[in-house]
Protein backbone atom coordinates (compact mmCIF):
# COMPACT_ATOMS: atom_id res chain seq x y z
CA UNK A 1 0.00 0.00 0.00
CA UNK A 2 1.06 3.58 -0.63
CA UNK A 3 3.13 5.13 2.11
CA UNK A 4 5.91 7.56 2.93
CA UNK A 5 9.13 7.25 4.95
CA UNK A 6 10.15 10.11 7.23
CA UNK A 7 13.75 10.65 8.37
CA UNK A 8 13.25 12.15 11.80
CA UNK A 9 16.66 13.80 11.93
CA UNK A 10 16.11 15.66 8.66
CA UNK A 11 12.83 17.28 9.71
CA UNK A 12 13.23 20.93 10.75
CA UNK A 13 9.57 21.44 11.60
CA UNK A 14 8.59 23.85 8.84
CA UNK A 15 5.37 21.84 8.41
CA UNK A 16 5.00 22.85 4.77
CA UNK A 17 4.15 19.21 3.98
CA UNK A 18 1.08 19.20 6.20
CA UNK A 19 -1.02 21.52 4.08
CA UNK A 20 0.24 19.86 0.90
CA UNK A 21 -1.22 16.40 1.58
CA UNK A 22 -4.48 16.02 -0.38
CA UNK A 23 -5.70 13.46 2.15
CA UNK A 24 -4.56 15.38 5.25
CA UNK A 25 -2.55 12.43 6.56
CA UNK A 26 0.27 14.50 8.05
CA UNK A 27 0.21 16.29 11.40
CA UNK A 28 2.51 17.77 14.02
CA UNK A 29 3.41 14.93 16.33
CA UNK A 30 4.55 14.71 19.94
CA UNK A 31 7.99 13.23 19.30
CA UNK A 32 10.94 15.59 19.28
CA UNK A 33 14.22 15.11 17.38
CA UNK A 34 17.73 16.28 18.28
CA UNK A 35 16.96 19.75 16.88
CA UNK A 36 14.14 20.03 19.42
CA UNK A 37 11.61 19.97 16.65
CA UNK A 38 8.17 18.40 17.04
CA UNK A 39 8.20 15.91 14.22
CA UNK A 40 5.70 15.50 11.47
CA UNK A 41 3.76 12.26 11.81
CA UNK A 42 2.27 10.19 9.01
CA UNK A 43 -1.04 8.83 10.21
CA UNK A 44 -2.92 6.74 7.68
CA UNK A 45 -5.20 4.27 9.51
CA UNK A 46 -7.56 3.91 6.55
CA UNK A 47 -4.84 3.51 3.91
CA UNK A 48 -5.78 6.65 2.07
CA UNK A 49 -2.26 7.68 0.99
CA UNK A 50 -2.09 8.17 -2.77
CA UNK A 51 1.69 7.94 -3.02
CA UNK A 52 1.52 11.24 -4.92
CA UNK A 53 4.74 12.55 -3.34
CA UNK A 54 3.41 16.08 -3.07
CA UNK A 55 4.62 16.14 0.53
CA UNK A 56 8.12 15.04 -0.46
CA UNK A 57 8.20 17.47 -3.38
CA UNK A 58 7.33 20.31 -1.03
CA UNK A 59 9.70 19.30 1.80
CA UNK A 60 12.79 21.54 1.59
CA UNK A 61 14.92 19.11 3.60
CA UNK A 62 14.23 15.75 1.99
CA UNK A 63 12.94 14.61 5.39
CA UNK A 64 10.35 12.59 3.52
CA UNK A 65 13.00 10.38 2.01
CA UNK A 66 10.90 7.81 0.21
CA UNK A 67 7.38 7.62 -1.18
CA UNK A 68 5.74 4.47 -2.53
CA UNK A 69 2.58 4.09 -4.56
CA UNK A 70 0.65 0.89 -4.93
Amino acid sequence: MSHIVIDKERCKGCYLCIEECPKKLLKVGKDVNSLGVHLVEFDDPNHECLGCAMCATRCPDMAITEVYKG
Partner: protein, 252 residues
Protein backbone atom coordinates in the same frame (compact mmCIF):
# COMPACT_ATOMS: atom_id res chain seq x y z
CA UNK B 1 -0.74 -8.23 -3.41
CA UNK B 2 0.04 -4.97 -5.14
CA UNK B 3 3.45 -4.02 -6.35
CA UNK B 4 4.87 -0.79 -5.02
CA UNK B 5 6.27 1.90 -7.27
CA UNK B 6 8.67 4.35 -5.72
CA UNK B 7 7.46 7.85 -6.52
CA UNK B 8 10.10 9.75 -4.55
CA UNK B 9 13.66 9.13 -3.43
CA UNK B 10 16.69 11.18 -2.50
CA UNK B 11 18.54 11.82 -5.76
CA UNK B 12 21.80 9.97 -6.42
CA UNK B 13 23.56 13.30 -6.98
CA UNK B 14 22.94 14.29 -3.36
CA UNK B 15 25.90 13.45 -1.09
CA UNK B 16 25.12 10.39 0.99
CA UNK B 17 24.23 11.33 4.55
CA UNK B 18 24.35 15.08 3.89
CA UNK B 19 21.65 17.29 5.37
CA UNK B 20 20.81 20.77 4.19
CA UNK B 21 22.01 23.48 6.55
CA UNK B 22 19.42 26.00 5.33
CA UNK B 23 16.91 27.53 7.75
CA UNK B 24 13.58 25.69 8.29
CA UNK B 25 11.27 26.19 5.33
CA UNK B 26 13.92 27.79 3.08
CA UNK B 27 13.33 27.07 -0.60
CA UNK B 28 17.07 26.62 -1.27
CA UNK B 29 16.62 22.99 -0.22
CA UNK B 30 14.00 22.44 -2.89
CA UNK B 31 16.11 24.16 -5.54
CA UNK B 32 19.23 22.10 -4.75
CA UNK B 33 17.17 18.91 -4.79
CA UNK B 34 15.67 19.80 -8.18
CA UNK B 35 19.14 20.40 -9.58
CA UNK B 36 20.23 17.00 -8.22
CA UNK B 37 17.17 15.29 -9.71
CA UNK B 38 17.87 16.77 -13.14
CA UNK B 39 21.57 15.84 -12.96
CA UNK B 40 20.42 12.26 -12.24
CA UNK B 41 17.84 12.20 -15.00
CA UNK B 42 20.21 13.54 -17.65
CA UNK B 43 23.12 11.39 -16.41
CA UNK B 44 25.31 14.46 -15.96
CA UNK B 45 26.70 14.01 -12.46
CA UNK B 46 30.04 12.47 -13.40
CA UNK B 47 30.87 15.16 -15.94
CA UNK B 48 29.63 18.11 -13.92
CA UNK B 49 31.74 20.93 -12.54
CA UNK B 50 29.57 23.21 -10.42
CA UNK B 51 30.46 26.72 -9.37
CA UNK B 52 29.13 27.89 -6.03
CA UNK B 53 29.06 31.57 -5.23
CA UNK B 54 29.07 33.54 -2.02
CA UNK B 55 25.91 33.71 0.05
CA UNK B 56 23.68 30.89 1.30
CA UNK B 57 24.09 29.35 -2.17
CA UNK B 58 27.77 28.61 -1.48
CA UNK B 59 26.85 25.56 0.59
CA UNK B 60 25.75 23.79 -2.61
CA UNK B 61 29.07 21.93 -2.66
CA UNK B 62 28.32 20.35 0.72
CA UNK B 63 25.25 18.64 -0.69
CA UNK B 64 25.99 17.66 -4.29
CA UNK B 65 28.28 14.74 -5.11
CA UNK B 66 29.91 16.63 -7.97
CA UNK B 67 33.18 18.49 -8.47
CA UNK B 68 32.78 22.10 -7.37
CA UNK B 69 34.66 25.35 -7.29
CA UNK B 70 33.86 28.19 -4.92
CA UNK B 71 33.99 31.53 -6.71
CA UNK B 72 34.66 34.88 -5.08
CA UNK B 73 31.48 36.91 -4.56
CA UNK B 74 29.91 37.74 -7.91
CA UNK B 75 32.48 35.98 -10.06
CA UNK B 76 30.77 32.62 -10.52
CA UNK B 77 30.15 33.06 -14.23
CA UNK B 78 33.73 34.21 -14.85
CA UNK B 79 34.88 31.01 -13.15
CA UNK B 80 32.34 29.00 -15.14
CA UNK B 81 33.64 30.61 -18.35
CA UNK B 82 37.19 29.59 -17.47
CA UNK B 83 36.14 26.02 -16.69
CA UNK B 84 34.05 25.60 -19.83
CA UNK B 85 36.66 27.14 -22.13
CA UNK B 86 39.35 24.91 -20.63
CA UNK B 87 37.17 21.78 -20.64
CA UNK B 88 34.31 22.14 -23.17
CA UNK B 89 33.33 18.48 -22.68
CA UNK B 90 32.31 19.08 -19.05
CA UNK B 91 28.87 20.13 -17.86
CA UNK B 92 29.21 23.46 -16.08
CA UNK B 93 26.62 25.33 -14.05
CA UNK B 94 26.56 28.04 -11.40
CA UNK B 95 24.24 28.26 -8.42
CA UNK B 96 23.95 31.87 -7.23
CA UNK B 97 21.80 34.23 -5.23
CA UNK B 98 20.30 37.40 -6.68
CA UNK B 99 22.87 39.59 -4.94
CA UNK B 100 25.72 37.53 -6.33
CA UNK B 101 24.27 37.28 -9.82
CA UNK B 102 22.67 40.68 -10.33
CA UNK B 103 24.47 43.09 -8.03
CA UNK B 104 28.15 42.45 -7.37
CA UNK B 105 28.36 40.00 -10.28
CA UNK B 106 26.19 41.84 -12.81
CA UNK B 107 29.08 42.51 -15.20
CA UNK B 108 30.24 38.89 -15.15
CA UNK B 109 26.66 37.58 -15.50
CA UNK B 110 25.66 39.89 -18.33
CA UNK B 111 28.88 39.41 -20.30
CA UNK B 112 28.73 35.66 -19.90
CA UNK B 113 25.25 35.79 -21.43
CA UNK B 114 26.37 38.24 -24.12
CA UNK B 115 29.25 35.97 -25.11
CA UNK B 116 26.81 33.07 -25.22
CA UNK B 117 29.02 30.91 -23.05
CA UNK B 118 27.69 27.39 -23.14
CA UNK B 119 27.03 27.19 -19.40
CA UNK B 120 23.93 27.29 -17.20
CA UNK B 121 23.23 29.72 -14.38
CA UNK B 122 20.67 29.09 -11.65
CA UNK B 123 19.82 32.22 -9.69
CA UNK B 124 17.83 32.12 -6.46
CA UNK B 125 15.86 35.36 -6.09
CA UNK B 126 14.62 35.87 -2.54
CA UNK B 127 14.71 39.70 -2.64
CA UNK B 128 17.31 39.98 0.11
CA UNK B 129 20.85 39.18 1.23
CA UNK B 130 20.05 36.13 3.33
CA UNK B 131 23.39 35.01 4.74
CA UNK B 132 24.35 38.42 6.09
CA UNK B 133 21.03 38.98 7.82
CA UNK B 134 18.48 40.36 5.39
CA UNK B 135 19.83 43.53 3.83
CA UNK B 136 18.49 45.28 0.73
CA UNK B 137 19.60 43.70 -2.52
CA UNK B 138 19.14 44.31 -6.24
CA UNK B 139 15.77 42.54 -6.28
CA UNK B 140 14.33 43.98 -3.05
CA UNK B 141 10.85 45.16 -3.96
CA UNK B 142 9.68 48.76 -3.70
CA UNK B 143 8.30 49.20 -0.21
CA UNK B 144 10.04 46.11 1.18
CA UNK B 145 11.49 46.52 4.65
CA UNK B 146 14.99 45.11 5.12
CA UNK B 147 17.70 45.77 7.68
CA UNK B 148 19.14 48.44 5.37
CA UNK B 149 15.79 49.82 4.19
CA UNK B 150 14.16 50.18 7.60
CA UNK B 151 11.20 52.15 6.30
CA UNK B 152 10.90 50.18 3.10
CA UNK B 153 12.63 50.48 -0.28
CA UNK B 154 11.98 53.89 -1.75
CA UNK B 155 13.12 55.08 -5.14
CA UNK B 156 14.75 58.26 -3.84
CA UNK B 157 17.39 56.44 -1.84
CA UNK B 158 17.56 53.01 -3.42
CA UNK B 159 16.37 53.19 -7.00
CA UNK B 160 14.54 50.34 -8.65
CA UNK B 161 14.83 46.55 -8.40
CA UNK B 162 15.96 44.53 -11.40
CA UNK B 163 13.95 41.99 -13.37
CA UNK B 164 16.76 39.56 -14.02
CA UNK B 165 15.23 36.98 -16.37
CA UNK B 166 13.95 39.72 -18.71
CA UNK B 167 17.36 41.41 -18.89
CA UNK B 168 19.21 38.15 -19.53
CA UNK B 169 16.70 37.28 -22.25
CA UNK B 170 17.74 40.45 -24.11
CA UNK B 171 21.30 39.20 -24.56
CA UNK B 172 21.94 37.75 -28.00
CA UNK B 173 24.07 34.97 -26.53
CA UNK B 174 21.24 33.75 -24.32
CA UNK B 175 19.56 30.59 -25.61
CA UNK B 176 17.14 30.18 -22.72
CA UNK B 177 15.92 32.44 -19.94
CA UNK B 178 13.08 31.53 -17.61
CA UNK B 179 11.66 32.59 -14.26
CA UNK B 180 10.00 30.00 -12.05
CA UNK B 181 8.60 29.90 -8.54
CA UNK B 182 8.68 27.32 -5.77
CA UNK B 183 5.53 28.49 -3.99
CA UNK B 184 3.36 25.49 -4.86
CA UNK B 185 3.96 21.88 -5.85
CA UNK B 186 2.76 22.46 -9.44
CA UNK B 187 5.18 25.38 -9.67
CA UNK B 188 7.98 23.24 -8.23
CA UNK B 189 7.34 20.80 -11.06
CA UNK B 190 7.50 23.65 -13.58
CA UNK B 191 10.73 24.82 -11.99
CA UNK B 192 12.23 21.40 -12.47
CA UNK B 193 11.15 21.35 -16.10
CA UNK B 194 12.86 24.73 -16.62
CA UNK B 195 16.10 23.54 -15.00
CA UNK B 196 16.00 20.45 -17.17
CA UNK B 197 15.44 22.50 -20.29
CA UNK B 198 18.32 24.81 -19.37
CA UNK B 199 20.64 21.87 -18.82
CA UNK B 200 19.58 20.28 -22.11
CA UNK B 201 20.31 23.54 -23.93
CA UNK B 202 23.87 23.35 -22.63
CA UNK B 203 24.13 19.68 -23.62
CA UNK B 204 23.11 20.71 -27.12
CA UNK B 205 25.75 23.43 -27.15
CA UNK B 206 23.26 26.20 -27.91
CA UNK B 207 24.59 28.94 -25.63
CA UNK B 208 23.85 30.54 -22.30
CA UNK B 209 20.92 29.12 -20.34
CA UNK B 210 19.42 30.77 -17.30
CA UNK B 211 16.77 29.99 -14.68
CA UNK B 212 15.72 32.56 -12.08
CA UNK B 213 13.98 30.87 -9.16
CA UNK B 214 11.67 32.89 -6.92
CA UNK B 215 12.31 31.60 -3.42
CA UNK B 216 11.56 32.35 0.19
CA UNK B 217 13.76 33.57 3.01
CA UNK B 218 11.42 32.97 5.97
CA UNK B 219 14.08 33.89 8.53
CA UNK B 220 14.89 37.34 7.18
CA UNK B 221 11.38 38.05 6.00
CA UNK B 222 10.28 37.20 9.55
CA UNK B 223 7.47 35.06 8.23
CA UNK B 224 6.41 31.45 8.71
CA UNK B 225 7.33 29.21 5.76
CA UNK B 226 3.63 29.17 4.81
CA UNK B 227 3.27 32.96 4.96
CA UNK B 228 6.53 33.32 3.06
CA UNK B 229 5.05 31.39 0.14
CA UNK B 230 2.01 33.65 0.29
CA UNK B 231 4.35 36.61 -0.06
CA UNK B 232 5.98 35.01 -3.11
CA UNK B 233 2.54 34.67 -4.69
CA UNK B 234 1.08 37.99 -3.67
CA UNK B 235 4.04 40.37 -3.75
CA UNK B 236 6.80 38.86 -5.86
CA UNK B 237 5.01 37.06 -8.68
CA UNK B 238 3.00 40.11 -9.83
CA UNK B 239 6.30 42.00 -10.33
CA UNK B 240 8.58 39.08 -11.15
CA UNK B 241 6.22 37.22 -13.44
CA UNK B 242 7.09 33.57 -13.96
CA UNK B 243 7.50 32.53 -17.55
CA UNK B 244 9.88 31.62 -20.31
CA UNK B 245 11.40 34.85 -21.59
CA UNK B 246 13.58 33.29 -24.25
CA UNK B 247 13.89 29.82 -25.70
CA UNK B 248 15.63 29.58 -29.04
CA UNK B 249 14.46 25.97 -29.39
CA UNK B 250 10.77 26.87 -29.17
CA UNK B 251 8.66 27.00 -32.31
CA UNK B 252 7.78 30.51 -33.51
Amino acid sequence: MTTLTQTFKIPESIKKGSKFSFCPGCDHGVAVRLVAEVLDELGLREKTIAVASIGCSVTLYDFLEVDSLEAPHGRALAEATGIKRARPDKFVFTYQGDGDFASIGMAESMHCALRGENVTAICINNTTYGMTGGQLGPTTLIGQVTTTSPTGRNVEYYGYPIKIAEHIALCDGTAYSARVSLDTVPNIRKAKAAIKKAFEIQQQGLGFSFVEILATCPTNWKKSPQKAHERVREEMMPIYKPGIYKDITANN
